[in-house]
Point group: C2
Chain length 225, copies 2
């Protein structure tokens, strides 16, 4: 599905260079279920943002569905992002002035989905994450785990070919976490590709392949099935 070659991401902070990713090589096949693990600050979210076209590398190449991504214009990258990728942010990134329902619907706004169909699909994913009784709440009227679940629902509404979930169960009890994992497994069972960052070994155990990140490099990128 995509391939990263020699990928690096460096932040310049005055005199100091922070090398968040260093010369990363990674190949992900269509339909894989991958868990990314590693210490806090090791580069996992940076990697996820680059994979999801939300950030650009300082060096290296990305090939997505056979095409060289750096050759694509901003418009085309945004289209790919909107159509094919679902992203659950570690910090949720909900819009404060939109309700739970409106936040969930947001990815459909870029496509011509009739209002009724959009609302039906939103209610469907919100039901899957257990939040149908909160649809008119605003983010600041939700618990931490409820916000996390809205972020998850929003990421799923497009049935994305590639789902990128950055620590999606960090604020959830085991029962809710298991429910979310089931939703991901269903999506995977339908042929979608799932990459999730997690600190929870229970969540990682459901993946077919684990990738260890350490100090900006991938220790074990090979398939460990």
């Amino acid at each position: 599905l995509f391939q990263l070659r020699g990928l690096s991401k460096t932040y310049q902070m005055g005199e100091v260079e922070v090398r968040a990713l260093r010369d990363v090589d990674l190949t992900i096949e269509k339909g894989e279920f991958v868990a990314i693990l590693g210490a806090s600050g090791s580069g996992k979210s940076t990697l996820m943002h680059i994979i999801g076209f939300m950030d650009k590398p300082t060096a290296g190449s990305i090939t997505f569905e056979g095409k060289d991504v750096s050759a694509l214009g901003e418009q085309e990258r945004a289209r790919l992002r909107g159509e094919k990728i679902g992203f659950v942010f570690q910090a949720f990134n909900l819009l404060a002035r939109l309700t739970v329902l409106e936040n969930t619907l947001l990815p459909l706004m870029y496509q011509r989905v009739p209002q009724k169909d959009a609302t039906d699909r939103a209610m469907e994913v919100l039901d899957a994450v257990g939040l149908t009784d909160r649809i008119s709440h605003y983010p600041n009227q939700l618990s931490g785990g409820q916000r996390q679940r809205v972020a998850i629902a929003r990421s799923l509404i497009n049935r994305p070919r590639l789902l990128l979930a950055d620590e999606p169960t960090g604020n959830l009890d085991s029962e809710n976490a298991a429910a979310i994992l089931d939703v991901f497994k269903q999506l995977h069972g339908d042929g979608h590709t799932i990459i999730l960052v997690t600190h929870d070994p229970a969540v990682a155990s459901h993946a077919h392949r684990k990738i260890q990140v350490q100090d900006g490099t991938i220790l074990d990128g090979a398939a460990t099935r």
Copy 2:
């Protein structure tokens, strides 16, 4: 140390009433190490905010160190909060325009601590959470787990009599989480009271007492040692 009696918190949303806490009775002795568990949305953060004087109940009474808290003025509550309570927020609540070091120092600003001593203490707690190499970063230049650790460092700088930590390890790998737990245990060993909300059974196992919250009520408030 404190006692809650008949504590309730209700949010009015137009026609609908959300009963976040319902008639809660809870007594916490000085020096306890308590874990609060419960499903997402069950009322744990609401309970923590009321205990930490950051929110007021809709009904019921709070007695802190023998004094009726509702009888205290806003000034006195703020003083108690600043001097005796340390709070780790589930969403971290770091100030975006302050560096890691400045965010950590913030609780000392309300007391007359000489600049040099304040900086020494900040470096001490930042070392305890493994962030001395990030002191000049701003929150948006940190990973999720690094932000969480700044929030933890900030909560500890006052050596608070009562530490309230709302899911303090949700964004941390097991090694960092264990390091944080050691810091909490040290504080507890010195006679401080610790109440932490967690979804992680490993973290909960270090507490001497577990409290289950469900739909705004406490299922098992009794000491289960």
